[in-house]
């Protein structure tokens, strides 16, 4: 599908022209005070706006204001968050006191997919978090803004690596083989990349939690949706904002390893067989060598403004983020321009958004942090032995899986550039009264280049063995989207009706190219002249490329009913087709329906201000993770010897599955929304039950008759359910002092795999996953998955102690008199998934000080501490030992996995604490506002876990595909460490 770009670009010109028009007015002065109607207290920071102009101001600390009113202006608008907005037609008065009533909360506009609703009308599970309630301080990804804020939404990133993504899970798990993260929609752009939005540019984020709401996104709504609305220019005078912070990250909660002294004491206690223990004669704190006090800085400048008929906002963000691991971090520059213009008396509304992002990432080039923990504390960093020139002068030993971490960090490089462009044009036109047509065209282009090089003298990374080892990879993704919607709203007396219909087309293309080489003459060119190595002509290196795409088309419709602001209903349906599916299964239909009633109005209740009961049911889908899975394809395999030379062989690439179809997640939600105490206390309580059928699962299949032992099939059923509670309560609101709290908590009652079988595929009742790994612990799984049982079961032998001779003692579970390394003597010994997640925010205002304390806790999950499995027994002392409270010098047996290394990882931490000071700016001063703040992350962490970060591991980082998703709860050796962050920031408004 091709759109005429000329038609779109004309709108841009119109919109840009609008920026150039600013009007000046003669002025007079209006003063007054804004108070709460119920309490009579002054409202601080209420907005006063001269309608139709750019002029406006806010109230001061006792609710007073002074406003310059341009001549000819007739209307003033008074608004305050949570209160009903008032418009007053101006006479000749010079003072105007206003009383605002609470309750506007229910009239706030909530963004839903392809439209919006008033809060009071919402009957499905939708949560909006606005700018002022976002997490603050050191925030570098939009996901962080929401962390802990929304019940049912888990956002995790174990450790603090700025280059790793957050794992986002909504209401547990709803898929095994497809996308587990909610769909991200940025200003209507479906599947937008979070990299293209800077947290500074976000106005609000709306989470569509249940399928009745997310089913409007059909195929990709099964894991919910997060709708991001970026900031727009507001009518009023031009504002300039500058936000900046510097921050410092330090290591927190090191895995406790032995110091050189402890290591020597341990060695002295060993008998004649030192088990590989050695004293290299030096003292080195390896972690200090490969980590640093990381200093980051972030700058954001934005300019915004507009008139009644148009507005603009331009924003530039620069981030220079250091990781605590030396030589790693991220620098990015992001620019965003949002324009809108109204025409034809407001009947035609045009908007365009443009976002550009460039970034450069320096990745960890190897297992720097792992060996930073494990390297012998008595080894020196550099070697004086002339023979070690072959290692670039670094101290190295010829041991398996043992490399000098400083050498890895300094003699290897892994980095990449990315650039993303996102552009959209939107037009809304009121065709006749109540009927609006909208068109959106959007394009997103992502490019990623990465390069890796390992020096000829680097023992790790393949540099030494291959005389230099490098690779480069390029990939790009191109997405087009065209959306057309029509909305008709009609007021039929007591019944308000709104109908939305639409069509959407999306195309996504992916291409990639990669090249590796080795045998380089010099390290100087690194990966930048990848053809110069001799590995390619010698046949020791090679390259490859690939390309795929998909098309997605959908038609959808939605009906909203509101009867007398008391009874509400929403029904939607989306029929969607995608080229990734098999013939005959291309299209599927996703319905959603929800209804609610305001019980206060229906039954005349008076003990609460509002009590809405709602029920919702919907079905959403999920796409297969890649293209071409339904096809029978032939591709190159190995080479084979034919007539004296090697020729390519071609064979099947996967088992074709022509029946591949949509995964379907059905979600049922029942809940209450309530407001009491003059709308001050408000919140919601809901129960959800989510059931996914036809799971996309890369299933092991019998080799006869299949071609390869795995096929992506639709099989099985998954269920999760839980209770979510969200509360906001202003405990105290006084002139100089206020305190309010908010709480978001989730109690998961079910995370269950109902089955992994259907009529066509019987995948057996059980499977074992998550290999412990090398050295020595392959063929040793930690996770047990079985039909009808909870997900996330950690499985293994039960630790009973250490025998006199230093060997492990495990429980003989089958009672045959001896322990055997087999499933008969193993059982479930932990759960990788949490029971309860909690976010608890405290906002205090004391005079001009703002204090925010945000606590986050997760309870009931266990973690397998991988470092302890391998490096705790006094055996194979190649590596340093983990010296936690579990260390037992009597244990001299080989490493084995058991319940001994499964630890309760429940935690409560002070996720964020911020103290800000608002400087008092004189009215009319050039500077509108100045806010100075200090912020800290992870100031305290309460947990019994002895590893570094007790955060839930929703996925196993050492597996791919469904194996990773089915294996939560494993703290692998490659996880970055927990960090403590201190930030000093300033916000200036002009």
């Amino acid at each position: 599908m091709k759109l005429r770009v000329g038609y779109c670009s004309r709108y841009v010109l119109v919109a840009v022209a609008a920026l150039l028009c600013n009007f000046a007015f003669a002025q007079r002065t209006l003063t007054g005070k804004i108070t709460d109607k119920a309490t009579g207290e002054g409202l601080i920071g209420a907005n006063i706006l001269v309608v139709g102009t750019g002029s406006g101001t806010i109230t001061d600390f006792d609710g007073s204001y002074t406003l310059e009113v341009p001549a000819g202006s007739t209307e003033i608008e008074f608004s305050y968050t949570g209160y009903t907005t008032q418009r007053i037609t101006l006479g000749s008065e010079t003072t105007l006191d206003i009383q605002l009533a609470a309750g506007q909360l229910l009239d706030e506009v909530v963004v839903t997919g392809y439209g919006s609703q008033k809060a009071r009308e919402v009957t499905s599970s939708i949560v909006t978090i606005k700018n002022e309630n976002f997490n603050r301080g050191n925030v570098n990804s939009p996901a962080q803004l929401l962390q802990g804020k929304v019940a049912g939404l888990s956002i995790t990133r174990p450790g603090g690596d700025v280059n790793s993504n957050f794992t986002i899970r909504l209401r547990g798990l709803s898929t095994l083989g497809a996308n587990t993260s909610p769909l991200v929609v940025i200003d209507g752009i479906i599947g937008g990349s979070l990299n293209t939005v800077d947290p500074n540019d976000i106005e609000s984020m709306t989470v569509l939690k249940d399928a009745s709401a997310a089913s409007i996104y059909g195929t990709r709504g099964a894991s919910g949706a997060i709708l991001i609305t970026t900031k727009k220019g507001a009518a009023g005078k031009t504002t300039v904002d500058y936000n900046s912070y510097v921050s410092s990250d330090t290591r927190l909660r090191d895995v406790p390893m032995m110091t050189a002294g402890e290591w020597r004491t341990l060695g002295a206690g060993l008998g004649t067989n030192k088990l590989g223990w050695r004293d290299n004669g030096s003292e080195t704190n390896w972690l200090d060598q490969v980590t640093r006090n990381a200093i980051s800085q972030v700058h954001n400048v934005s300019v915004g403004g507009g008139t009644k008929n148009g507005g603009y906002r331009a924003s530039v963000n620069y981030r220079d983020l250091q990781n605590i691991q030396v030589n790693t971090g991220l620098k990015s520059l992001n620019a965003r321009l949002n324009l809108f213009q109204n025409a034809l008396n407001g009947k035609l509304r045009l908007a365009t958004n443009l976002a550009l992002t460039n970034g450069r990432r320096q990745f960890s080039p190897g297992e720097v942090l792992k060996f930073g923990l494990l390297y012998n504390p008595t080894a020196p960093v550099l070697s004086s032995n002339p023979a070690d020139a072959r290692w670039g002068g670094y101290f190295e030993e010829d041991l398996f899986d043992y490399n000098n971490p400083v050498s890895i960090a300094n003699q290897n490089v892994s980095e990449g550039d990315y650039s993303e462009v996102q552009i959209s044009f939107q037009a809304d036109y009121d065709l006749f009264k109540g009927f609006t047509l909208s068109a959106l065209y959007a394009q997103q282009r992502d490019q990623n280049n990465t390069g890796f090089y390992s020096n000829r003298t680097s023992r790790a990374g393949g540099g030494f063995g291959n005389q230099g080892n490098g690779n480069v990879n390029y990939s790009k993704q191109n997405t087009h989207q065209a959306t057309f919607t029509g909305t008709y709203a009609k007021d039929l007396g007591k019944l308000d009706l709104k109908v939305t219909g639409g069509y959407e087309y999306q195309y996504q293309g992916n291409e990639g190219f990669g090249f590796s080489n080795n045998r380089f003459l010099t390290d100087v060119t690194g990966y930048n002249n990848i053809g110069s190595g001799l590995g390619l002509p010698l046949g020791l290196a090679g390259g490859g490329s690939g390309k795929s795409d998909f098309e997605n088309v959908a038609v959808f419709g939605r009906l909203n009913l509101n009867f007398d602001d008391t009874y509400f209903m929403m029904a939607s349906v989306r029929r969607e087709g995608n080229s990734r599916f098999g013939e005959g299964n291309k299209y599927a239909v996703f319905p959603g329906i929800s209804a609610g009633a305001d019980l206060t109005k229906a039954f005349g209740l008076s003990f609460v201000d509002n009590l809405k009961f709602r029920l919702a049911y919907g079905v959403a889908g999920n796409l297969p993770p890649q293209s071409n899975l339904s096809q029978e394809l032939v591709g190159p395999g190995g080479r084979f010897f034919y007539n004296g030379q090697f020729v390519p062989s071609y064979g099947p690439q996967s088992n074709p599955n022509p029946n591949l179809k949509w995964e379907r997640t059905a979600d049922f939600t029942v809940g209450f929304d309530f407001a009491a105490l003059n709308y001050k206390l408000n919140g919601s309580l809901e129960y959800f039950n989510r059931n996914t059928q036809d799971l996309l699962f890369n299933a092991p299949v019998p080799v006869p008759p299949n071609l390869v032992p795995n096929t992506l099939v639709n099989v099985g059923e998954l269920e999760s359910s839980g209770i979510e509670l969200a509360l906001n309560f202003p405990v105290l609101k006084k002139d100089k002092f206020s305190y309010d709290v908010n709480l978001a908590t989730t109690y998961y009652t079910t995370f269950k795999l109902i089955s992994l079988s259907n009529e066509d595929f019987d995948l057996g009742k059980e499977r074992f996953l998550a290999n412990v790994g090398s050295p020595g612990l392959n063929n040793n799984n930690m996770i047990y998955v079985a039909d009808g049982q909870p997900l996330g079961q950690i499985y293994g032998p039960v630790y009973r102690g250490v025998a006199e001779n230093g060997t492990w003692q495990f429980e003989d579970l089958n009672g045959d008199g001896k322990y055997c390394d087999c499933p008969d003597d193993q059982k479930v010994i932990g759960s990788g998934l949490p029971d309860i997640e909690l976010g608890f925010g405290n906002n205090l205002r004391i005079g001009k000080f703002d204090v925010n304390l945000f606590f986050r806790g997760v309870f009931g999950h266990d973690l397998v501490n991988s470092y302890r499995i391998f490096y705790e027994p006094v055996n194979t002392m190649t590596w340093n030992r983990v010296n936690s409270k579990y260390f037992n010098p009597k244990l001299t047996d080989g490493a084995k996995f058991s319940s001994h290394q499964v630890e309760n990882a429940s935690f409560l931490k002070l996720d964020n604490a911020t103290i800000g000071y608002n400087f008092d700016m004189p009215s009319g001063a050039a500077v509108r506002s100045v806010n100075l703040y200090v912020s800290g992350q992870n100031l305290f962490v309460l947990t019994g876990y002895t590893g570094s970060d007790p955060e839930v591991r929703f996925q196993d980082s050492e597996q791919g595909g469904s194996g990773a998703i089915l294996s939560p709860g494993i703290d692998r050796r490659n996880t970055p460490f927990m960090q403590r962050n201190l930030t000093l920031g300033i916000r200036v408004g002009l």
Binding site: E397, V553, Q631, E632, F641, Y650, G651, V703, V708
Partner: protein, 519 residues
Amino acid sequence: MKKYMIKALFVGLFVIAFNQSCSDLDENVYSSVKTDDFFKNNDEFIAALGAAYTNLYGFLNHGNYLSTQEVSSDEIMIPQRGGDWFDGGQWLRAHRHEYNPNDDCVTNSWNFLFGGVNTCNRLIFTFEKLIGEGKVDASLARPFIAELKVLRGLWYFWLLDSFGNVPIVDRFDVPADFKPATKTRAEVYAFVEKELNDNVPLLTKDKNLATYARVNYWAGKAIQAKLYLNAGVYTGTPQWDKAIAAADEIINSNNYALEGNYFANFNANNAASKENIFVIPYDQVFAGGFNMPQMTLHYGSQATFNLTDQPWNGYCTLQEFYESYENTDLRKGVSGNQQIRGNFHAGPQFDDDGRTPINDDSADDPGGKPLVFTPEINAHFPNCFRQAGARVGKFEFPLGATPNLNTDFPIFRYSDILLTKAEGLWRKSAGDAAALALVNQIRARAGVAPFTALTSDNFLAERGREMFYEGWRRQDQIRFGAWAKTWAFKPASEKCKEIWPIPRAQINANANLKQNPCY
């Protein structure tokens, strides 16, 4: 006017949009070829045939079929060296014949063997279909089909030998819910015998570059010889005459001869070997997978051969096996001298200069720093010394070797055919002079004194010395009745452990499969 234009524009866009909603959503394929677009010429046809052979490259992967064969015999073990190589106990169990249906090595072997069977089935089906459709010249395709059926016979010979009772899947166009049932070992034997009898005669008798690393008539005869040699084990009825006949046919063709130097068959460049009948043509560039140095050598041995990748310090031979070679046996090698080829690397190890001792930096062995491969092995687990055990040196490790050796791995070798004939004769008549002469021919090349008589013990031992690490030891021990006996780190085992368990995942997936006895 303007207003109407805008209205018209919007309405027009909607019309375009809703027309699109009827898209058939055909999927584009860029980086692969749809099956319908393939088989357009003979080159593509041959490339498809290649898939049947590339399956063989997995033969030598660690944890696959050959590993499982070797570790369960008395010529190889992977001891648990402290924290290394426990791997859930699978290698300890394999050596003790206590296989577990969950063990990866069992599952991998099954998947490897049936993967080979299935590729043959698929190609036979495809080629027959193409002949039927007139898309390929039948005279080109028919010999390929016969070749594929014999190759499938080889895969089934291995299945018969290792798993015994397996389903017979000889076609590709099976229904979606196809769940083949277990057949008895005798039925599988009969299937293999018939397939070979029907198809080997159709294969080319040429022995040249065009048939190198391909299943020709002589490779087919070698499969038959080995099948009949073990017929007594598989069915209870020995077929010594048939084994002798198949071997004789190969011998009398004069296509093959013993190399003067045993190691000519195992050098990096062994394509010219007069002795190798059928090989897997491993290649550093084109056909990877032969990573013997990694599997067997010590971490520090990287410097001995300037290997690109560090070895894993796993596979070693048992002391008794090592010592079953006389010191003058040319096949044994010389302890402490890695410049002289031998089946083993033993004794002190040196840098690539052959003089500078290699340090074992962990120095946890009683011998201390210098790296010395001791033939004696202190323990099977948990703390076998890291330097314990003589290592596999049979295949050439050239300086600068990558994890992909160039050596073509012999599946069938002429000396094995000579020993097969000898065994057939000897089984029929213990005093057979021709049998003794054949065995002594092998011994003469190894530089050791001739036997004066053949016994069960010295015959098995000689086969062991000659065929070390070629994947026959388990089969030989079973045939000679030595399998259940006690040897180092292995207690006496039940006879039913002669065949492996059917993998648990397979039984879970196919209710028609029957687990082998005593698992």
